[in-house]
């Protein structure tokens, strides 16, 4: 039996937001989150009861993030006011934009693999389905991503993240 969609939002809303933040930065993450859950709610009645809801949501978020990135490349956002902070990627008030910049600088595949494995906690097999390609390729992309992060942001560790 399918649980109310509200429970899905409650259980996975935070993880999807964190994934969107890693993929897009704090600002665009909110629109991607909204688009993801609206699309998910539309499709929810047809989702098989035994499906992994988080992997399903991350798959949708992945597509929505690609849409946002494409739109960004097509039309650079006109800046009305010069922002005070040098990056739009940091979470305001977190006092540490460096990791965000390092994450944003990763190649897309690596950033996606890092987000889906270390932030969403998905298995590499699930990530391979989202990214296309093999499980090994997904594992390599995540490992390369972490290696690059360590290089560009020496404070980064994977402590507390799923192995």
């Amino acid at each position: 039996m399918k649980q109310p969609f509200e429970k899905v939002v409650e259980q996975h809303g935070g993880a999807v937001l964190r994934v969107c933040r890693v993929l897009l930065g704090a600002h665009d993450a909110e629109d991607a989150w909204s688009e993801t859950f609206l699309a998910a709610m539309r499709a929810y009645p047809d989702l098989p009861d035994d499906a992994n809801a988080e992997a399903w949501l991350v798959t949708i978020a992945h597509r929505k993030a690609i849409d946002v990135l494409r739109a960004r490349k097509r039309q650079p956002v006109p800046v009305g006011e010069v922002p005070e902070s040098p990056t739009a990627l940091g979470v305001p008030g977190d006092g540490d934009g460096d990791l965000w910049q390092a994450v944003a600088a990763l190649p897309d595949k690596q950033r996606q693999a890092v987000a889906y494995h270390y932030v969403a906690g998905l298995a590499y097999a699930e990530i391979a389905e989202i990214l296309g390609g093999t499980t090994d390729a997904a594992r390599r992309a995540a490992a390369d991503g972490v290696k690059n992060l360590r290089k560009n942001y020496p404070g980064a560790t994977t402590e507390g993240a799923p192995s």
């Binding site: 039996m1 399918k2 649980q3 109310p4 969609f5 509200e6 429970k7 939002v9 809303g13 935070g14 993880a15 937001l17 964190r18 933040r21 890693v22 704090a26 909110e30 989150w33 909204s34 859950f37 609206l38 709610m41 539309r42 929810y44 009645p45 979470v91 008030g93 977190d94 540490d96 990791l99 890092v114 270390y118 932030v119 969403a120 906690g121 972490v146 992060l149 404070g155 980064a156 560790t157 994977t158 402590e159 507390g160 993240a161």
Partner: protein, 202 residues
């Protein structure tokens, strides 16, 4: 600093999620995806869950009915597209508040009886004809719906009323004048009857 999931939660994740969830409710409604909207309100008879489809109020549930179970049933019987979205319940919440203050004697809400069928629904649709502060016996209600022998079936219709308080099954009593069973528990039934006795004109 590490890059575990907690790092990316940011300092205001809880606030952001609240805002995003509120926005999702509005967007889902605008897109016609909000099959069941619900909210909860405090009342003198405990926390009430209110749920509405686009057709109208579909469920009022007492705490003792277990709100999680009620939501599961709504997802199963109506649609799994269920969200906490209080806006659709604004008028219901306001009218109930007025009722519990003794300032409202009849409800002007659109009702959706999708959760009941047949004779039960027929009985439930007739219950609002019992006015504020009035009571009837199960037998009288059976007569009211033109089936004087269906006393037990009237009892079942009252016990399975999906819209208690608004559809006043609490105004139906046993023939000996004792309150009888109630979906919200006997105390709730007595409380509603006392409230109405205090506020009724006669």
């Amino acid at each position: 600093m590490n890059m575990s999931p907690e790092y990316f939660s940011g300092p205001r994740e809880a606030d952001t999620l609240l805002r995003l969830r509120h926005r999702l409710g509005l967007a889902a409604d605008a897109e016609g995806l909000l099959d069941v909207a619900y909210t909860t309100i405090d009342s003198p008879v405990g926390t009430l869950l209110l749920a509405a489809t686009p057709k109208g109020l579909v469920r009022v549930a007492y705490d003792i009915e277990d709100h999680d179970r009620v939501l599961d049933t709504l997802a199963h019987r109506l649609s799994p597209r269920v969200l906490r979205a209080p806006k659709r319940l604004d008028a219901t919440a306001r009218e109930l508040d007025e009722y519990f203050r003794g300032q409202r004697q009849a409800f002007g809400l659109r009702l959706d009886f999708s959760l009941s069928t047949g004779f039960r629904q027929l009985v439930q649709r007739h219950l609002p004809e019992i006015g504020y502060g009035q009571t009837r016996t199960y037998r009288q209600v059976a007569e009211l719906v033109g089936n004087p022998k269906a006393v037990r079936a009237v009892g079942t219709a009252c016990a399975t009323n999906p819209l208690p308080v608004v559809v006043p099954c609490h105004r139906v009593l046993r023939a000996d004048g004792t309150p009888g069973g109630y979906v919200g528990g006997p105390e709730a039934k007595t409380a509603l009857l006392s409230l109405e006795a205090a506020g009724s004109p006669g």
